[in-house]
Symmetry: C2
Subunit: 215 residues, 2 copies
């Protein structure tokens, strides 16, 4: 996502340590302490401007959410939403998705969301896709047994690639949607990007997959 | 497929025992004897009017093909194509796909094609879909280790269902195409149905999947 530089972003992030984690290794294995209640932990990798995770947190007060985003100029917009809503079950984590094992203990996470990840269409950039096997290894490590990945995208090639990558890594596809907005799926919460592109008639693809018990 | 009744079909089928097998249990484990050459065996379940399997046999003389079709009024049209072409590497089998283990030995088949199978959209008819788990069990039995299933359809719901069914059964998705005719796939051979529906702008979905070595 290309966004305008916001020189004020780092200062703002530093001013709200109760919402956004900047020293995340301190919290490894202790995420529960940052929430009001001990309940399942779902994380979104690449939270962007935060509409999805904020709305999810409002819709599901019985789940704790962490939105992970590397880009300072983007996560600060998610932070602004969180400040306004003051949700007890949402936290933000300002790091690179690649480094998740430094911030979560094995089995600490119950579910992972990937929404409209960068497709990195060139073959030589395959390793950067968030559904490449090295990322799946990371997700498997931090997810509990039978933990699920819920992935949606409007990018056909990325979805084709990801179904293969998931399956070849050993994930089981629980359910696939090839046109989410025309389906019977209930409770879909749209990202900013999803609102924009689906209104232009773009199909949205979705898959739920899980790691079988092999740990 | 709904087709006109052809009272002459049974007689025609009986007249060409060199092309179409009517006593298939005799040939279990001996399919190679019905072909000129000993080479890999690929079968199509639901061969219909036979355009796909006939063209495949012409394009790949190094592979032996068997087209399996239950409907007498349909397979007779595939037979007519075969009579005209007189292909040494194509045979027809006039039986129900459910009963394949009665006609092929374990590991006798190298690859299975499913093309535009009946979607049986009602949930109560799930068991009739050719990608339902009981059929997958049959395919696994007759396929060799790492044997592949190549499935294509224009039916979105059937494709969604089948990806899940394959994965949950333990098949690994090798590659997925969500719009075959707009893809870089080379060598696609169309069925009669595919020609008709893709010319109307219908997307064609395709997947290649294999059973990992677990026998």
């Amino acid at each position: 996502m290309r966004v305008r530089n916001k020189p004020w972003a780092p200062e703002k992030i530093a001013a709200y340590p109760q919402y956004i984690v900047s020293n995340p290794d301190e919290w490894k294995g202790k995420w529960t302490d940052r929430f009001k209640r001990k309940q399942p932990l779902h994380i979104e990798i690449g939270t962007g401007k935060g509409q999805f995770i904020t709305e999810m947190a409002k819709a599901h007060p019985d789940i704790n959410y962490v939105g992970v985003e590397l880009q300072t100029n983007v996560i600060v917009l998610a932070l602004e939403k969180l400040i306004e809503e003051d949700l007890p079950n949402l936290q933000l984590l300002h790091v690179n998705g690649e480094e998740l094992t430094a911030f979560f203990l094995p089995n600490e996470v119950d579910q992972i969301y990937l929404n409209f990840s960068d497709p990195w269409p060139k073959t030589r950039h395959e390793k950067r896709r968030l559904t490449y096997r090295s990322f799946l290894e990371t997700y498997q490590t931090i997810l509990r047994e039978n933990g699920e990945i819920h992935f949606k995208t409007d990018n056909q090639k990325l979805f084709e690639y990801s179904l293969g990558s998931f399956s070849q890594y050993g994930l089981i596809l629980k359910q696939v949607w090839l046109d989410l907005h025309q389906s019977e799926f209930v409770g879909n919460i749209m990202t900013e990007y999803e609102e924009k592109f689906s209104s232009r008639g773009q199909r949205i693809y979705r898959v739920e997959a899980y790691f079988p018990c092999t740990k």
